[in-house]
């Protein structure tokens, strides 16, 4: 067990600056209007730094810098860009523990997760796209004996990326690694809830990138995100967030005729068929862990398995075992490596979760465990902690249909395979799903029948760089991860070449 000292306190392995400006053209630039906003840690609720409150003027300056850098960056060899990405990964690996503590402090998530998942995955993501861009090739199509169609990949140019607060570093890297690998210059806006950890990351790697290739403008969505997303100087907008803002970003993009990728969340079903309980073995234990995965990152994951569907034959026993498992989760100081459940990322997030406890109860859902704010005492009393919560109810209830984004699972039963698929697909969303069974035929059929972009089969919450991630239905448009992501940041250039000296004969 290790309890890391809070950044800024005695014995801390990582410290934040007291203030972060915008990073534009390779240097830190104060905001045009001179305003800053306070950035609290969800661990204690206390402010730990202040951050530039960006506006349209700052966004324009960042776009100037990005446009100044984009052409030269786009012409660098893939080997050169891959080497830079690999060096970024190496720096991150050398500072993994510091990055993990920095992100924990800003987001409130347990450091055991940032140490084991967020930061290692982010490191691997840079390496994956370093490899993918080296291996990517265009094509040469032999149209006929005299005519060849060449297809080249070209960068889009300058792209806008708007980052969510639930994985401040990993979600930034999911967007940055393919964009930079493909040769784009980036203007990135971190979430206003978690604006600082990306700057700590930047302090480790800024010298590796040519000035202007990566620009970070901080600020509020309406003041900095909107001018960026609506700019006619970006070739693409990538956004992770929710449906209304997703629609607004598409609306702006339609005015500029540019593509968007949107990742907008879900209400992911986690399905447990009767046969998981056939043996009391490792797999049964794993499936109970899978049930408990709704508490990962305090439920602040777009793919949170927030609906558990348990087959009637095992319903009572499996649910009882699941409740026991969840009641044994250790909630506490996120900086303690033993802590499994930390703090919600912001006060409004906490308030929203509590409002869902209220409507869940009113609709008649039964609270099997949790169902309230957690007061952890001491200096953690001001933090935003929620007890891991299990509701039992039916799929029409709002707690089964809306993303709560908290450590909350809504449980119901199903009769048979057809019933499971019907309930699983009875949702507006289709981002993730889980299927747990010992029967490979059931696993395969269920996986294909669920209308979601990723179906974890006998697993959950794995995020390898090489597996495509994205949504069906209202969960969004486009994918992240996997080498196919390069296409989302590239144009296709076709050179159609005639090697015949003869006229075509039309004129």
């Amino acid at each position: 067990m290790t309890v890391y000292s809070a950044p800024g306190s005695d014995g801390a392995i990582v410290n934040y600056e007291s203030r972060y400006d915008h990073f534009i053209g390779g240097e830190y630039v104060p905001p045009a209007r001179g305003q800053y906003f306070a950035n609290p840690s969800p661990v204690t609720g206390q402010d730990f730094c202040e951050v530039a409150r960006g506006t349209a003027e700052d966004v324009e300056k960042a776009l100037d810098a990005a446009h100044g850098a984009a052409d030269a960056w786009g012409r660098t060899s893939t080997a050169e860009r891959a080497n830079i990405l690999n060096k970024i990964a190496d720096r991150m690996e050398q500072n993994l523990e510091k990055l993990a503590v920095a992100e924990c402090w800003e987001n409130g998530k347990p450091v055991r997760e940032t140490l084991a998942a967020d930061i290692p995955l982010a490191i691997d993501h840079f390496r994956y796209f370093a490899g993918a861009i080296r291996a990517q090739e265009g094509t040469a199509g032999e149209i006929d004996d005299d005519t060849v169609a060449y297809h080249f990949h070209e960068p889009l140019g300058v792209v806008a990326q708007i980052i969510p607060w639930n994985f401040p570093i990993l979600m930034a890297v999911w967007k940055l690694a393919p964009a930079l690998a493909a040769g784009n210059a980036v203007v990135l806006k971190p979430a206003e809830q978690t604006p600082a950890s990306i700057h700590y990351w930047l302090s480790l790697v800024a010298d590796l990138l040519p000035p202007g290739v990566l620009n970070i403008v901080n600020g509020f969505g309406v003041e900095a995100g909107k001018p960026l997303a609506s700019s006619n100087r970006v070739a693409k907008v990538a956004f992770t967030g929710e449906t209304t803002t997703g629609r607004l970003i598409m609306q702006y993009a339609s005015e500029n005729l540019i593509p968007v990728t949107l990742e907008l969340g879900g209400k992911s079903p986690n399905i447990f068929f009767d046969d998981v309980s056939r043996l009391d073995d490792d797999f049964y234990d794993k499936s109970l862990e899978g049930f408990s995965m709704f508490a990962l990152n305090q439920g602040e994951v777009c793919t949170c398995p927030s609906r558990a569907l348990i087959q009637q034959g095992i319903y009572s026993d499996f649910l009882a075992a699941g409740v026991k498992r969840v009641e044994n989760l250790k909630q506490g100081n996120p900086l303690d490596t033993d802590t499994q459940v930390g703090a919600q990322a912001s006060n409004d997030q906490l308030e929203k979760i509590l409002s869902y406890f209220d409507i869940g109860r009113q609709e008649g859902a039964k609270v099997l465990t949790g169902g309230a704010r957690a007061d952890l005492g001491g200096n953690l009393s001001g933090g935003y902690y929620v007890q891991p919560t299990i509701f039992e109810g039916s799929n029409a209830m709002r707690i089964f249909q809306e993303e709560i984004f908290g450590p909350v699972v809504s449980v119901t039963s199903f009769a048979d395979y057809a019933d499971a698929i019907k309930i699983a697909n009875d949702t507006l969303y289709g981002l993730g799903a889980g299927v747990w069974t010992r029967d490979i035929n059931t696993a395969y059929r269920a996986g294909r029948a669920i209308k979601a972009g990723r179906v974890w089969t006998n697993s959950y919450h794995l995020y390898p760089a090489h597996a495509a991630f994205g949504g069906y239905k209202q969960s969004g448009i486009g994918r992240e991860n996997h080498k196919m992501m390069l296409d989302h940041y590239q144009q296709t250039k076709n050179l159609l070449v005639s090697y015949s000296p003869k006229a075509m004969g039309f004129f």
Partner: protein
């Protein structure tokens, strides 16, 4: 006063008055999905283009605001919410997509209750 689908707390009304004074006429669109989802988004009226897929739940009358503030939701989401009454509240917070109140250090929040049989009958 007739049966409503959406009400507003005094604190939320005060914030709407302030935002109206700072920016101009307002509208709300209720979001779904992750991060800042499941929350009401406040925009300048007309900023968010509503269409056939949206339902106007209420035109909110706020003291001190000349024009009604419209409250919208996508029709598919409304199908799942229509049995509940919504109250727009405001809490200290941060982060709200492109919602106008975020720079003020607050966040609009929806509180819900079940509509009664009588209310449902009156609204149908």
């Amino acid at each position: 006063m007739g049966t409503t689908r959406v009400d507003v707390t005094p604190a939320a009304a005060a914030m709407m008055r302030q935002l109206r004074g700072q920016h101009g006429p307002l509208m709300f669109h209720q979001s779904g999905g992750c991060c800042d989802g499941s929350s009401p988004m406040c925009y300048l009226e007309g900023e968010f283009r509503t269409g056939q897929s949206d339902v106007l739940l209420e035109s909110l009358k706020i003291d001190g605001v000349d024009e009604p503030i419209t409250f919208w939701m996508s029709g598919s989401q409304f199908e799942l919410w229509k049995h509940t009454h919504l109250t727009v509240d405001v809490v200290p917070g941060r982060g709200a997509g492109f919602s106008l109140e975020a720079p003020e250090g607050v966040r609009f929040l929806i509180r819900s209750r079940l509509l009664t049989e009588q209310e449902l009958a009156e609204l149908s």
